[in-house]
Structures are given as C-alpha cells and as structure tokens.
C-alpha cells in the first residue's frame, strides 16, 4: 500500500484534523468522534441548513464542500463507509437555525438508512427536515430503476445549486425543490483504469489488467458496463457521452454544464484532452456549455479514471450555478 499515512485506524481522524487546522475559516470539527464538520458561523440565522454526509476518501466530496453558498455541515464516515446516524443527527442540529434542514446526499444504501434514522431522531427534537437524494450514475441501474442509481458527480451540482438557493434565504420547500431539480438535471458515468486502496483494508479494492479499463465503474470500484482493452481518449469520451445522452437526450439550443472529474490519479492534462473532444461533440449538436468544471471534484483517493457529468440547465439553475460560493476547494465569483 503506497500511501502517506500513519496508522490506518487514524486516517480519517488525522485527515480531518489537518483539514480543520488548515482552513479554520471554513471547517469546524464537532460531534461524535469529531466526525461532524460544520461552518464556523453555523447555524446562520434564518437560513435553511444543508447537510450532507458519506464516506471519507472522496475529497473534496463530502466535507470539502462545507462553505459559504454551499453546505452548512457534513457528517463523515470511515473511508467509503457511511457516517453513523447520531453523527448525521448532530450535523443536522448544528446546521439548524430554525429554518429547517435539507439532507442532501448520494444514494447509497447505508447512507440512506442512516440519514433516515437521523431524520427520525431529530424530528423528535422539533427539527424540520427534507431529503433529496442524488442518483445520477446511469451505469448503476437502468432508467426504469432510476431510484436505485448511486450518486456521483451530480452531487457537486446539487450542492452548488441548493447552496446558492439557501444563501438567498429561500425557505426549506424552495431549497428542497431546486435541490431536487438539480439532482434530476444531472447524469453521470464513470470509468476506471486502476483501483484505490482503503487504508484499513491495505490492498487494492479490485484487480484489473495492465492494458484494461472498466467503463461505468462506480467510485468504490462497483462493477460497470464492460471491462476490456484501454481505448483512446476520444473513443472513451464518445462512449461516455453516448451513454449519458441515451439516458437524457439533449437537443439543439440546450445549455449544459459539464463536469470532467478525475477520480484521483488521472491528471488534469488528460481531463482537458477528454474535455476537448466532449466540447467538440456538443458544439456539433448545437449545445452550449456553461461553466465547465474540469478538475478533481469527487475522487476515490488515488484511483485512476474519470467521471463525466452533464447538468442540463434552465435559467434558474444557471443563475444559481454561477452564484458565488467559497470553500477551500472551490470558489465561484465573489462575496462582497
């Protein structure tokens, strides 16, 4: 295991300690086992709180997106493990100013159960809350079973758009509505070239041949659509785009944002090579790209591979996407 770490048991604790020490203006560590990260000035009076959570190992997701115009709190589990219900409940308490809390997270079984349980726990304390699940990975279930799909790059758009809406002091119903709208607007697909290693496991999560790739693989190494010889960048991008467009057709004149996201080891250079092709295809179709995101937004530690997300915009979503936000990993526009 080629990782820079101390005891694998302390991986998450030390990571969070470093994160909060580096950026105290964005992240405050509280809650059971210190697994709740909250905006230092939360809860913000009159503002709907947005809470997320999930496993560690995906920075900037989840914790990293706690910030202005983004999330108010996140509950963070071990690497690739859900946070516990009481951690999530504490994140919700921290985020609640009385205006209610949106639970906004990815559709993974363990997370759903714990977020539901947490919701029930704080409900008894009088905290009103709603849920929006991001389930954007088209490779994880067919269209008929959309509700079984897992969440991936779409989380980034949902965080940004819901965060901007809450920033404007919309009420819980409105924030929930746009969060759901953003989640519904996104489709994603991933591909991987090499696995990553969960520190506590000590060995790679899967094996794959020296000349192989897997199309449609999930961010924890969940099996995808096919595994075979590594293809050329343009072929890969073309297929990813095709899989997304088959699921959510786009037409001339549509405006979309595109997220070309590295799973960790894949360098920016390769993301730009891929983006180049994706843009050329969308150009041909008469589809306009707005605010493309090309970097590491949702990773699996040192996994090699990338995900592509397309978010279909309308005026409302575009406006919210372009609104200011500020966290250690992502800044849009300016707060003044």
């Amino acid at each position: 295991m080629k990782k820079i770490l101390n005891d694998p048991e302390h991986y998450v604790a030390e990571m969070l300690e470093g994160l909060c020490a580096a950026h105290p203006e964005y992240y405050k560590q509280v809650g059971p086992q210190g697994r709740v990260i909250v905006l230092p000035n939360a809860p913000i009076k009159g503002k709907v709180g947005i809470v997320t959570g999930g496993g560690s190992g995906h920075l900037p997701i989840f914790t990293g997106y706690v910030g202005k115009g983004l999330l108010d709190a996140a509950a963070i589990g071990d690497v690739f493990c859900s946070p516990t219900a009481d951690q999530i409940a504490e994140a919700m308490r921290q985020a609640n100013s009385g205006a209610g809390v949106l639970r906004l997270y990815g559709n993974y079984g363990g997370d759903v159960m714990n977020f539901d349980m947490a919701g029930e726990m704080v409900e008894m304390e009088g905290i009103e809350s709603t849920t929006v699940l991001v389930a954007d990975d088209v490779a994880s279930a067919p269209l008929e079973e959309m509700d079984k799909r897992r969440g991936t790059g779409g989380l980034v758009y949902a965080f940004k758009i819901a965060g901007a809406k809450a920033d404007g002091h919309a009420d819980l119903e409105e924030v929930t509505r746009v969060a759901q709208k953003a989640a519904d607007a996104c489709r994603s697909i991933g591909m991987a070239l090499t696995p990553c290693t969960v520190p506590q496991a000590g060995k790679p999560g899967f094996e794959i041949g020296e000349d192989e790739m897997e199309m449609g693989m999930g961010i924890h190494g969940e099996p995808g659509v096919w595994r075979g010889k590594l293809k050329k960048a343009d072929m890969i991008a073309a297929e990813m785009l095709e899989l997304i467009l088959a699921d959510k057709p786009l037409k001339k004149g549509d405006r979309v944002s595109v997220l070309v996201n590295s799973l960790g080891a894949t360098p920016s250079e390769e993301l730009y090579i891929s983006y180049r092709f994706i843009k050329s295809q969308l150009d041909k179709m008469g589809i306009e790209i707005v605010m493309p995101l090309i970097d590491r937004y949702a990773t699996s530690m040192e996994m090699t591979g990338m995900t592509l997300t397309i978010c279909l915009l309308d005026d409302e979503l575009e406006h919210l996407l372009k609104a200011p936000c500020d966290c250690a990993f992502w800044k849009v526009g300016c707060y003044e």
Binding site: C81, S82, T84, A85, D86, G110, M113, M117, G205
Partner: protein
Amino acid sequence: MSIFSKLLVIVHSGKSDAMSSGFTTEKLIQTINIMAAKMVKSSEELNQLDNLIGDGDIGITMKNGFRAMQEKTAQFPEDVGSAFMMCAQAFTSSRASSFATLFATGLMAAAKETKGMTEVPYNQIPKLLDAAIEKMALRGKSNLGDKTVLDEMAAIRGAIREAESDQSLIETVDNAAEKALHDFKNRPCRQGRARIFGDRTIGIDDPGMVVIRLLVQSLRDAEK
C-alpha cells in the same frame, strides 16, 4: 439446558416456567457473550464473503459491534428495554454500515417492545422478532425475497412457529437457518451494495444472511 434452548422451548410451548420465567438483562448479556465470541472468530471469513459482492467489511462491523455491546454490558440496567436500547446505540456508534444500521434498527424495535420490563416472558420473543423484521424492512426499504438478512430472520421466525416439539426446536431453527441460506444461494441479491453485481451474486451467500446463520449456530453450539 442452555438459555437459548430454554428460551426456545418456552417460546414454543407458550408456557412459562418457575425457575426462569422470562428473558432478563442477565440472559441478554450471556447471549451477547456467546454471539460475540462467534463473531470475533468469524470476522475474517465474513469480510472475505462481503468482499465478493460488497466492500468486505461486514466481519469488522460485527466484531466491532459486538465488542461495543460487550463494553456496555456492565452498565446495562435491569430494564430489558433500556438494555436493548443501549445495545442498539453501542452497535451503531461503533461503525456505520448497512448491516450495523439494520441490526441496530432491529434491536431498537425489540427495545420498544420490552420497555419497562425487567423480565420478558419467553412467549413474547416471536413478537420481538416480528417487530424487528418489520422495522428493518422499513429501514432498508426492502422486501422478503430480496436475499437479505430479512430472509434469514423470517426463516427463523417461521421455524419457531412450525417446530414440532420443544426438544427439537433448536435443531429445527438451526436447520431452517441453513436451509434458507441454501435456498437463496442461487438467487440474485436485490438490495445493498450487492445489488449492483446483479446475477453475479447468484451462487454466493448473502453476507447478512450468513451473519444471522452464524449467530444461531453459536447458540446451538453453546448448548451442546
């Protein structure tokens, strides 16, 4: 006669006995200890199984979860409901995973049913099991037949109902547990991480079902 056997005997016969008229916190602790030993021993095997169609952690979950419960037993109150609640809390807070959450959900259901009781009549045990299965299904948004922990628990519940005699109860339950595993082996998992593997889960035991099967086995072995 072991606690478990006695428990099952009495559950089945529907009559309480003078010496041990019900399930107490003390008996809960004994049960936990028996099961904990089995989970520690089986941890690696369970991880390997979960690794085939999941993330390979269910063995850690069970080992840590039972250890967390054991650490709390010294503080267990006489109130069985509160003791069950402490079990649930210990189990979830040790490590979040689908199984931990489901298991804790089941324990919470039992807690609710037994709140305020220092002795739970054995014939109420099936009710606890029913409550647990119901709440766990709600929590997991899953149905019987999805090849999950629920199917294994339902099989046990069924065996208790149908056992022909008090003496054969533990054997019947144990056989039912084994049979359920076998019956589901060649079906696909329809919940949890395993679902995504689809037909590749055919021929592989569901890790959650195996956990329950092992827990039953630990009680049967303790009786021998």
